[in-house]
Every structure is written in structure tokens, then in C-alpha cells.
């Protein structure tokens, strides 16, 4: 592979978003027939880098060469014309169209050679689709609906879709997050075959290091928006990679450990869910902040959703403050004084068009009613104002609609909901996603302060730094199971990454 013209050569790529630099002076190279793995912690800049290459994000500075020629991408279709395809984490499939139609959508073969009677030549279409899939050694009826396929096969369809468009450079963003180990084997065989036979280059973002070493030829590590180094996947050790990802040993303990009274909080025995959880058991005392770490698909966010009653539970027992609790719906969870902050607050957590007071008082309007279910608006104004001030939410007034607030303040509104509802337990899924650095620290402080007043927190996060910063105890999950449960001062960032990756 020496002296070949690289498929992609990115030099001095820099991209800044308001408030943060996402990619700082990064070089990247991809050779024909190579699988080049990108690893790095959350927020290291992996996604930004590939999105720049796929044309979805414009770069601030730097050059991109494809096949040795300088190119400039203004939009995704520019990149597609150069043979670059991105397979995102959420698979963009048309569930109600057939496999063949999915693969050839946009380039469907026409029966006649004119624009007026543009009728699809289905015979030809199915033949071509079967041919496209035969490269993968899988046999599917190309006439069936794509939405009925398992996710692993849907992924292959998207890859096939990219290949029929003469893709030379395939970018895959965490393709294995939702796959089982057998499906991963199949996918890797296919990827390796594609590289060897068709000389395609693949950029592969992943979170599991063993996978990176298994599938990749080279591994590039990103850390804090910069490139650390590129390693040969055959020879590099996992320890070296983790060292490269974390940098020098950092100590995050800015807070004093909270005193825990030892009163019972959440007790969980042997929780099972056929897709997400296996034999989960742990106990949390009242007023404790416990973090749940793990990569995407490890079951950490699903655990919170199951406790909150969004997903049904297969078996297991939960006790809240010693009382038996059967999760059935959020209504039941709220009755047990549990609150939940979803990871995507704009879509799942807030009513953006409504004002701050509306959002804060929504789960606990029963506190505010006088007679016959009429909301006491004076009381509402007074009490929501108190919460707004206590959490220092920056808003013009509590009658401003929530969409006018910044990300950090929106998250505070979601917290305020449960403070106002007097929840004793708050489940947070990625509490600082999409929040800028300064606001992150504010939210951490807020969580610490609330915990010191006896509110129990269960925080799920993919971000090890976040867990170490805010939690006293951390539970790590991998492949649906708890792998370790420890006091956060006992393990370092590196040791944690070693366990979850």
C-alpha cells in the first residue's frame, strides 16, 4: 500500500462552533482498500471530522484532497459526487418500500428512455438489486419491505445503496452499537471483503477498542479536538490507545464527598429486559449521586427508561424508599416521587412553544389547583418564580417561551420541573448533552447542591469525565450487564475506559 495515492487526504482541518473548537488542526489520510478507525472520547471531534468530509459541515480552515485532487464541499451532494457516502448511526431507510427500491432510490432504472413515461422497470430493478446484495453473500427476497428486516440487514442495504452509487469512500458512524456479536462478525467480514476486492476505503468510527483492533488497518486517536496519533492496528496495545485518548492523568474531584445517611433509596434486584438488560441489581442510598457509565447500546439509558416506566420490564423487583414499586407508566413513577430528564430535552422533555412556568408546573399541577381543577395562577407565578430563582435560570421572565432560552438554561428548566414536583429521585439521561462548558459546571454544581438536600440522583452518561466530576459512585455497564460498581475516587479515567470499551 506504500506510495499509493490516498483516497482522502485532509490537512490542517479546523472547525469552530460558537463557544467551542470542535476540530483543531487535524490531519487525516485514507488509502484505497484500507479500514481506518477513528476513536476518541465523547466530544473529541470524531463526528465533526467525518461530517466535514461528508459535506454536511463546512470547514473553517484546511484542505481536503480526494484522489490527489483538491476539492471543496458546499453540501452533501458535492461529497457524494466524489464518491463519499456516510452511513449514520440512525439508519436512513424507507420502511415501506422494498429492499430493491431502497437500494436504487433516486437512480431507479426506467422502462423507457424518455422523461414523460418514466415508469420503473421492476424486472431490471430486482435483478440489479440481487446482484448488488450478492456481493455480501446474503440472500434476501429483494421484493420485501425494508422496514421488516432486522437492523443488521437494514445496515447492509444502506451499504449496498452507497455501493451502487459508485462510492469509493464509505464512512460508518458506530455501526455496531445496536448489533449482536454474530451480526458484528458478518458485518466485519463484509467490510474486509469490500476493502480487499473493490479497493474501497472505509472510515470507521467506533467506541469499542477491541473492535477497532479487529476490523481496522490503522487507528487514529482524537482527543480534545486534536489528533493524538495514528497507530498500526495490528501492533498497538489497548493500553497505548487508552493513554492516547485520555492524555495525562486528570483529577476531577472538585467536590467534597456527600455524606450519605444510609437511608434506603432505590433497591433493584435482578432486573431483566430481553433486549436491554440482564440481571441488573444495585442499591442506592437516599441523597447519593450514582453514575451509570457505558457506551451507546450498553443498556445504561434503557435502564433509566425502564425504571421510569417507559419500557415495560420483563422481570425483577424495584423498591423505592423501601416501598415496592412496579414501573408501569410515568404516571406511576411520578406517584413514587421519581422524575426523569430525557437525553433529548428538546424533543422529549420540553414544550418549547410554551412558557417557562407552563413547563415547570406541568407534572405537578395538582399542587396548584384550588376548587374544581382550576389552576391558581397567582400561586403558580409565585412558586415557579421561586424555583427559577433558586436554580438561577436565566430568562426574561417566567412567561417567556422556552425556545428563547439557551441549552443550559433549558436543561435547568427540565430540572426545575422535578424540583417543583418535589421529586425525591431524579433520573438523568446525559444531563449535559449539547450544553456548553460553563453551563455544564453550573449544572454539576446544581446537582451536587440538590443531592446535599437529600435528592437522590441516578445519572446515565457516556462521558467518563462527567461521571467522575459529578458522581460519588459509578456503576459501569457493558453489553446489558453491570460489570463493576465502585466509589468514583477508586478508579481513574483510564481504568474506567479500559473497562467499558
Amino acid at each position: 500500500m506504500i506510495q499509493e495515492i490516498p483516497l482522502v487526504e485532509m490537512k490542517n482541518i479546523t472547525k469552530a462552533f460558537p463557544g467551542a473548537i470542535a476540530i483543531d488542526n487535524v490531519d487525516f489520510e485514507l488509502l484505497p482498500g484500507e479500514i481506518h478507525v477513528l476513536v476518541g472520547q465523547n466530544g473529541a471531534g470524531k463526528s465533526t471530522l467525518v461530517n466535514i468530509l461528508a459535506g454536511t459541515i463546512k470547514l473553517d480552515a484546511g484542505t481536503i484532497k480526494v484522489n490527489g485532487e483538491l476539492v471543496k464541499f458546499n453540501n452533501p451532494s458535492d461529497a457524494q459526487k466524489q464518491g463519499i457516502s456516510l452511513v449514520p448511526q440512525e439508519i436512513p431507510i424507507f420502511p415501506d418500500l422494498t429492499i430493491a427500491e431502497n437500494i436504487f432510490m433516486g437512480v431507479l432504472p426506467s422502462k423507457y428512455k424518455n422523461k414523460i413515461f418514466n415508469i420503473v422497470d421492476f424486472k431490471n430493478l430486482y435483478k440489479k438489486a440481487e446482484l448488488a446484495l450478492s456481493k455480501f453473500n446474503i440472500h434476501l427476497n429483494v421484493n420485501q419491505l425494508a422496514g421488516k428486516l432486522p437492523i443488521a440487514n437494514q445496515q447492509l442495504i444502506i451499504i449496498a445503496k452507497a455501493l451502487v452509487r459508485e462510492t469509493r469512500i464509505l464512512i460508518m458512524d458506530e455501526p455496531t452499537a445496536c448489533l449482536g456479536s454474530k451480526e458484528i462478525d458478518i458485518l466485519f467480514d463484509i467490510l474486509k471483503k469490500l476493502c480487499a476486492e473493490e479497493k474501497i476505503g472505509i472510515i470507521y468510527i467506533c467506541h469499542r477498542l477491541e473492535e477497532a483492533k479487529r476490523v481496522g488497518h490503522r487507528i487514529t486517536v482524537l482527543r480534545d479536538s486534536r489528533k493524538t496519533d495514528t497507530y498500526d492496528a495490528k501492533t498497538v496495545s489497548t493500553t497505548t490507545l487508552i493513554e492516547a485518548m485520555t492524555g495525562k492523568e486528570r483529577v476531577f474531584k472538585n467536590f467534597e464527598k456527600l455524606k450519605v445517611t444510609g437511608e434506603k433509596g432505590i433497591d433493584i434486584y435482578n432486573l431483566n429486559h430481553h433486549r436491554y438488560l440482564e440481571e441488573i441489581s444495585f442499591n442506592i442510598s437516599k441523597g447519593e449521586i450514582v453514575g451509570i457509565g457505558g457506551v451507546l447500546g450498553s443498556g445504561r439509558s434503557e435502564l433509566l427508561k425502564i425504571i421510569y416506566g417507559i419500557f415495560p420490564l420483563d422481570s425483577g423487583e424495584i423498591k423505592i424508599f423501601g416501598r415496592k414499586y412496579v414501573p408501569s407508566s410515568p404516571i406511576e413513577a411520578i406517584r413514587f416521587e421519581i422524575g426523569y430528564l430525557p437525553s433529548d430535552r428538546n424533543i422529549e422533555g420540553l414544550h418549547l412553544l410554551q412558557d417557562v412556568a407552563f413547563n415547570i408546573s406541568l407534572p405537578s399541577l395538582s399542587q396548584l389547583i384550588s376548587k374544581i381543577n382550576i389552576v391558581d395562577r397567582k400561586k403558580e407565578k409565585k412558586e415557579t418564580n421561586e424555583v427559577v430563582q433558586r436554580l438561577q435560570i436565566k430568562t426574561r421572565s417566567n412567561k417567556s417561551p422556552v425556545w428563547t432560552l439557551s441549552g443550559g438554561n433549558r436543561q435547568k428548566v427540565s430540572v426545575a420541573k422535578w424540583i417543583f414536583a418535589k421529586s425525591k429521585i431524579i433520573l438523568c439521561d446525559e444531563p449535559t448533552r449539547g450544553v456548553d462548558v460553563a453551563a455544564k459546571d453550573e449544572i454539576y454544581q446544581l446537582i451536587r447542591e440538590l443531592a446535599s438536600r437529600g435528592i437522590t440522583f441516578l445519572i446515565s452518561s457516556p462521558d467518563v469525565e462527567e461521571l467522575l466530576k459529578v458522581c460519588d459512585r459509578i456503576i459501569l455497564m457493558k453489553m446489558k450487564k453491570i460489570i463493576v460498581d465502585f466509589e468514583s475516587k477508586d478508579l481513574s479515567e483510564k481504568e474506567i475506559l479500559n473497562l467499558i470499551l
Binding site: 421510569y308 417507559i310 407508566s329 410515568p330 404516571i331 413513577a333 411520578i334 426523569y340 430525557p342 424533543i347 422529549e348 422533555g349 420540553l350 414544550h351 418549547l352 412553544l353 410554551q354 407552563f358 408546573s361 406541568l362 407534572p363 399541577l365 395538582s366 389547583i369 374544581i372 381543577n373 382550576i374 389552576v375 395562577r377 412567561k399 417567556s400 417561551p401 428563547t404 420541573k417
Partner: protein
Amino acid sequence: MKKNVNYDKYYFIRNQGLLLVFIGMFIFFAILSPYFLTVSNIFNVLRQSSVLFLLAAGQTLVVITGGIDLSHGSLIGLCSTVIGLALLNYGFLEGIFIGLLMGLISGVICGILIGWRKLEPFIVTLGMMFAIEGVSLIITGGQPVFGIEDQVLKKFSFIGQGYLMKVIPVPVIILGIFIVIMYIVLHRSVFGRYILAVGGNEVAARLSGISISKTKIITYSIDGLLVGIAAIILTSRAGSGQPLMGSGILLESIGAVVVGGVSLKGGEGRVFQVLLGVFFMSFMVNGLDMLGMSTFVKQLLIGCIIILGVMIRLRKTS
């Protein structure tokens, strides 16, 4: 549109804009027609508005939750039919009771199908529209229900044709009462908060502990009940049960909601908007009548006004 506009101010200007157009139209008609601005004409328009407001109010509740109710017109026909039959065979109170009950039953059925079985509101109410009309035609064979006893009819027609203190028509009193009730339901009650929450963001509402199905079932039930009341007024005015009474009225009620500026996407809506939409439609139709405009031209103008209403709304969201 300038950027960084204060949201609240913007909102106010938009509503006031519609109000200004309404006032402008009012003055225009008042100048051109000497009869337009007489007490009897104004009360006459208000009396006609009362039915439209009841329907538009029900429609608004449904629209706020993100749905739509297409069954208004045929439900009025069925309610009118059964009211007529009840008046004929039983009496005054039974007539009123059965009208309300019929509306409620239809609303509950829609609510259960939409809220609990999670079917598409458009399809459910479209089906209901045909089914209900079928039922009233089966019952009556397409003929109006005549022959109600004079004594019963006299009492009953007071609702739609009577006057309080010899000036104020009874439907106008009903209108006033329901404006207040709707204001309380939508802007003061817990239920009002819940429908805004469900329509604005169903997932977030569910995670906040609101029962989506319960909220929707109650919404469609109230909607049905309001249609029942509207049917009582209309039947009282007609003096007989009319199975085809509601034809055409559905589109007027949706039109009033849209012109008022309630978003069909759901999640927002105010009583003030509905009221303005209703008055806009009624006074415009009346004014054009006064000017001797033909029904055909009227039709054309109403269509244009509805599209204009949507355009105003779109400018706001962009």
C-alpha cells in the same frame, strides 16, 4: 420580518393585526349599508354566531390536541333528528337531554378510537361523518321530523328564537356563557394545560405524567357535547328535526378556527382567536348579504379569506 423581535410583542401585533382588519371591515360595511349597524342586525349576527362559536370551540379543543373533527355536520343532523323524535314522543326536557347525550356518545366513541386505540383523527372522524349521516337517514328515511305538539314546541323554540327582556336573543346569552366557560376550560383549568401539552409535544407530555388517552377521550367528549348544544339551538330555530341540517356547517367551523389563527398542527390556540375567527366569518357573510352580494361571490370571498388566514399564520412561524 426583522430578526430578534421580542416574541411577546410580535404575538400581540399579529393578533391586533387581525383585529384591525376586522374593525376595518366593520367600518366598511357600516358606511356602505345603513342597516348593518342597527341593534337588531348586530343581535341577529350574534345569534347566528352562537352556533358557529360552539362548533368552532369544540373544533379548537380537538385541533389543539393535534387532531381534527370532520363529523360536526352529520352529528348535528343526527342530534337534530333524535331531538325531534324525543320532542314528538316525550317532551321538552327529554329532547334537550337526548340531544346532549347523542353528542356526548359520538364524542366518546371518537375519543376512544383516537385516544385509546391510537387511530388517525382524520380517518376516524371521516368514517364517523358517513356513519352518523347514515344513521340519521335510516331513522328518518330522509324526511324531517314534523308534528311536534304546539305546547312542547313553544317551550322548545324559546331556546333558539326567544328574547330575554325583549331585546337580547337567548342564543346570544348562550354564546356569552360559553365564551366564559371556554375561557376557563382552556386558559384556567388543569385540563386546558393538558391539551396544550399533549398537542404541543406528546412525548414530553407523557413523560410529565399526563395520560394521553384520557386527555384525548375527554377532549372529543367535550367536543361532541358542544355539537349537541349547537344542534339544540338549530333545531329550536327550525322547529323540526332535520337529518340534513348540518351540511356545510363543518367547513364553516374549521374555517373560523383557521381564520382565527389556531394552528392546525396543534399545541396552541386561544379563545380570543376563535371568537375573532367566528365574528369575522359571521359579520363578513352578513355584511356581504347587506350589500346584496350574490351567494356565489360570497363563497369565493370566504375561500380567499381562509387562505389569507393561513398565510398570516405562516408568516409568524417563518
